[in-house]
Amino acid sequence: MKIQEKTKEALAALFPDPPASEPEPDDAEEGEKKPEPRGNGIIEQDYHTRGFHLDAQIEPDQLIEAVRILFDLGYYLEAITGVDWIKDEQLEVVYDFSRYDFDLCRTVIRTRVDRSAPHLPTITPIYTGASWHERETHDFFGIVFDGHPYLVPLLLPEDADFHPLLKDFEA
Amino acid sequence: MSLTLFNVILAVFIAICFVGANAAYLVWCERKGAGLFQRRPGPMENGPWGLLQPPVDGVKLMTKQLLIPGGVDKAIFMVAPVLAMFPALISFVTIPFSDNIVAHPIDVGVLMIFAFAALGGMSLLVAGWGSRNKYSMISSVRAVSQTVAYEIPLMITTITIVMISGSLNLSDIVQTQLGGFWSWNIWPLQKQVGFNLLMPVSFLILFVCSVAETNRAPFDLGEAESELVAGFHTEYSSMGFGLFFMGEYANIVIGACLTVILFLGGWACPVGDLGFFPFTHHVGWFLLKIYLIIFVFIWIRWTFPRTTIYGLLNLSWKYLIPISLFNLLLTAGLLKVF
């Protein structure tokens, strides 16, 4: 079985509710054009136009579970980043995963938190290397990763209390 | 007696000049050599081939402000560079540059050189301790263990030679090696060394030890610029640094002199005594030999990466000391047989 299907199957277990993963792949782009954010679920993306294969949007409390699945399947963490969807009053956190072997499957886990109180669980117990990525995301977006051992500014000065990548940031 | 005293004073004066000029121009040689080894020209702006670089550097060093970091023990901080320079100067007193150019041929000249060489190691300890800098501290601890580890094989190898020549007087040691290169101590196939085939190895050991003793690359753990910034002289500026620098080069000259005297026949001509111009002749050969050795010092420095402290101790305790001990016993036995 190709890893893409395997991953999809494993991640699908996170969505017991079938309607949640209803949107067809074609609807994906439309879903992002629409003002309201797209619903949770897994989408298989066209690699040649998008650059990644699987795209799963999950609830913040499912994060640990999803990341654990990917770790067990042998994925490595490429990066964690945020996107500020100021119109939706939401912050999206994107986790990029890739694989070391030749069974290519780039997987994206994304989750959205409220802009006013951005809290997410940390994934450092699973991916130790997430530590810096989370600190960076905390620097730039102000997202608090609960349980992170050392959430102090990494790239910004030690006393920075601003979050430059927020869309309403004024220098 | 008064003549001897005069001799010593004159010798110290000449030694200071010699060491000063040597240090200055060895720096030039080092930089020029480094340049040529590295596909670049080296110093060339000041004077022809950059020959005026050393005096210019000297002036620069002397005119710079001598910074003393806050909180250091001033006495210790100031005495360290002097300690680095002083033993090297004193050691020149007993070095025979030729059969008649030697300030004071002390009967235990070898011992004296070693005594003062050990003092050189102490200067690093004092400098590192006095600087109140963590890098300097680490460096000085390294320097001490390095000195201890390398004095031993150095001594053992020297004892081998002392056994062969039966004297601790450096002039006498040279006297036993007169006549062409086949009667030098490095040459194994002669009765003098008891046909000990390990003599070249023992020369190598002495050479490696003198590189290590003088804190030169690849054993420059004391200053290890990529790890410890500048090691024991991190906090030194102006002539404090200058003295360390001169001390290093003076030590190199001493190391080279010792190597030449013990193994390469001192001022002896490599093809037997030619007889004419004895004065320049002998000094010339001696200087030629020590500068050849110094060239190898420079060559090695610009070829190899640095060892680590455990690599250095391993080399000393696992290789140099057993081999030199074995060589000592072998030589003793062979000398008894032949």
Binding site: - | G33, G35, L36, F37, Q38, R39, R40, P41, M44, W299, I300, W302, T303, F304, K318, Y319
Partner: protein, 146 residues
């Protein structure tokens, strides 16, 4: 114990190999260039700071379309033109390059459709004054015409 002597011999041999390599370099001529006394010839495509291209009469080719200004990522170009009476086209009256923020990316030269900009070959651009890098390119063109 077997490794003891092989280590010793291979080690010594490797050191001698390395010394032979550096010794071979020793007598060779240096490959460096003695910079202030000699200097390299710049390649035709070398990207120095930009300069204006003049036509036969020495007038700038520029038609003040401001494409370069818009293409510049760091906003270091400012230009202005005047429209003399009785003429259709604007004439360049001011072209200032703020070289302190220029990153020599060449976006301006690429965006120019009227062959009015090119890279100069100047590389000796050190100065202690910031004002030296606010360059009046029109003035530069005039000086070149002379």
């Amino acid at each position: 114990m077997g490794g003891y002597f092989t280590d010793l011999f291979t080690g010594t041999k490797s050191l001698l190999d390395g010394m032979w390599v550096t010794l071979k370099e020793f007598p060779r001529r240096p490959v460096t260039l003695n910079y202030p006394h000699e200097s390299v010839k710049m390649y035709p495509r070398f990207r120095g700071h930009i300069e204006l291209i003049g036509d036969k009469d020495g007038k700038p080719n520029c038609i003040v379309c401001s494409m370069c200004q818009r293409a510049c990522p760091s906003g270091c170009i400012s230009l202005a033109g005047v429209k003399p009476e009785g003429e259709k086209k604007k004439v360049l009256s001011r072209y200032i390059l703020d070289f302190t923020t220029c990153s020599l990316c060449g976006s301006c030269v690429e965006s120019c459709n009227f062959n009015a900009l090119r890279f100069s070959n100047e590389y000796n651009l050190a100065s202690t004054r910031k004002e030296d890098f606010i360059m009046d390119l029109l003035q530069r063109l005039e000086e070149q015409n002379r």
